[in-house]
Symmetry: C2
Subunit: 355 residues, 2 copies
């Protein structure tokens, strides 16, 4: 058995792979592959409806919010957000907590003024800035709720009257959130929702249509809302597999239940990092992510040795991002405590053999 | 056996479905699903490389052209083309051969002046206009090579010194083309290239970077070229299945061989439409598409009867688009002559039983 700690695209439940594999040969006893059915068929329309209703149910999305399945990943949202929300001559506020947050702000600069309210860049993004002011005349305030590279997560949403836009690509569906604290949430699917190729967007409807700007149809949220995520051919298979994965999450007891598992998984791993003299965490304790656990060793030589052991033990994808070094264990919803234990065992084994 | 005449997403070869299904459980003996591997893994980088090299080989793409795999479908290209090619205050020329061509022109109007060089709208797009002038000061000339709804196809590329941009979503890889006749080709994959979720773009490199405009990174072709289609997480599975399908096409003898099959398939069906007194084609004979065959009957009552017979005979997806009515048989690369014969047999049977 392989333990896939990859940062995304990442592990999904084996049951989902089984069903997803079958549907490529025969979708719902239609005698057709899911890859060859029309996106306008009754069968696929039901897939989109069920996927939307699972998102609404699992995240308690109120009726005055729309749920969209788009393409282009979070990176496309970096542009679509200001296209839709930033009026000409307007200003947007961004919190800088890492590479992806920086990229989001950079793209917004193509459309208006960007105020960076705070940044933890000086400490290589090891923590989440907490004391900052959001200008009241900003069209929106943008932040990244989980920083995959640095292993930090924003658990307390900053309080402001300015509309809040959040990139939740790597922690959506991993913990309970109050949707009403946000005005626009977006997330590339390829962590906890499904495979690569689809992007979830949840928008408070009354946020839209206020800039007076012309927005190309394909980038206009209102067009996608009107068309029920079928403005043009959607990424059929990515939506279908997301539906299977959301069904799995629901059967597990939903977001509340998975959050409890995620807390235990993260604690088990962080406890070992703290206990084991060979390893140390890189993120500020109060901001430690439950999704991406980043840790290092004292020397590159030891790190190379541990990586070799990890490989032997079938622990996949734990090499850290080059900007942090060391290790990163991504422990998304579908990763089991068995895999966490396998990693912890390898860390203990390493300690024993190097005493 | 079902005969899938759907307009897209559409039939792909059974061998492709078999392999695509297996990879969802175990990709290339990695012990991991294709859906959970990192897009930065060596294994997936090889998939992207092979897919690109198959496109280059099958379409004879010269070295001074880039090959990209993007997201968002042809509809996103409707906006990206003028974003990248139309300078402020510039002008673009569009040929209007149907709904999709009209939509492409409409989106371009967000970025500059659009000149419609000719239109066959007055005749409900039953033919391809041939006598028109392309303004020499246009930044580019855009046309749609195959009109899925109306069953028309442009076999002779208009001659002009203005850069040519073509939407080949529904006939790319179905017939030999000379890439050098075009400056930019785009195509949603979900007809002859692969499943929904990926868009092929082939661009002559020296066409880019000339407008002096700032283009958001995610919509900038040059950014995608620099990143080798990995500017952000690509639609992994859609690219993988496209690779399998391109391998299949290569093994069949490539585009030249499939074109011969497509000619025979189209001729067989058009011959029956002409012979059978119950049916008549809707497109001008000289512009008839080899990919989408559109035909009608004298009365809606008869059409309903034939649709019922088709359903009995497992002929799927032959109802015509509402704007043309009647029937549309989409006969893409993967649809076999066996399926064409099954449709022809049903037409003959209908004739016999109504004599």
């Amino acid at each position: 058995m392989k333990h896939n700690f990859g940062a995304g695209p990442c592990i999904l439940p084996q049951e989902v792979f089984q069903e997803a594999s079958k549907a490529v040969l025969d979708f719902n006893n239609t005698g057709l592959s899911i890859l060859e059915i029309s996106h306008r068929s009754k069968e696929f329309e039901e897939v989109v409806k069920e996927t939307e209703s699972l998102v609404r149910e699992l995240l308690h999305v109120p009726e005055n919010y729309s749920v969209l399945f788009l393409q282009g990943g979070a990176s496309q949202q970096f542009a679509m957000v200001p296209m839709n929300l930033l009026p000409d001559g307007g200003k947007a506020a961004y919190l800088d907590t890492g590479v992806w947050a920086t990229k989001a702000a950079k793209e917004a600069k193509n459309f208006g003024e960007v105020v960076t309210v705070a940044s933890s860049k000086d400490s290589n993004y090891t923590y989440i800035p907490k004391d900052f002011e959001i200008p009241l005349d900003a069209a929106y305030f943008h932040f990244t709720s989980n920083n995959t590279i640095y292993g930090t997560e924003v658990f307390a949403t900053p309080s402001t009257t300015v509309p809040k836009v959040v990139d939740m690509s790597s922690d959506i569906l991993s913990r309970e959130i109050n949707i009403q604290e946000y005005d626009l949430i977006y997330a590339g699917a390829q962590k906890n929702m499904g495979p690569a190729g689809v992007t979830l967007v949840i928008i408070k409807n009354d946020l839209l249509g206020k800039t007076g700007k012309t927005i190309p149809s394909i980038f206009n949220y209102q067009e996608h809302i009107k068309a029920g995520s079928m403005y043009n051919t959607p990424p059929v298979y990515s939506i279908y597999v997301s539906m299977l994965n959301l069904r799995w999450l629901k059967a597990k007891g939903g977001v509340k239940a998975i959050e409890q598992e995620n807390i235990i998984k993260a604690r088990t791993l962080y406890d070992e990092i703290e206990r084991n003299p060979f390893f140390k965490g890189t993120a500020a304790v109060e901001d430690r992510s439950r999704m991406n656990v980043t840790f290092v060793m004292d020397t590159p030589e030891l790190e190379a040795e541990f990586l070799a052991l990890a490989k032997e033990r079938n622990l996949i994808g734990i090499k850290g991002h080059r900007s942090v070094g060391g290790f990163r264990a991504s422990i998304y919803n579908a990763l089991t405590i068995t895999s966490i234990n396998a990693l912890v065992d390898a860390m203990k084994e390493f300690e024993e053999s190097h005493k």
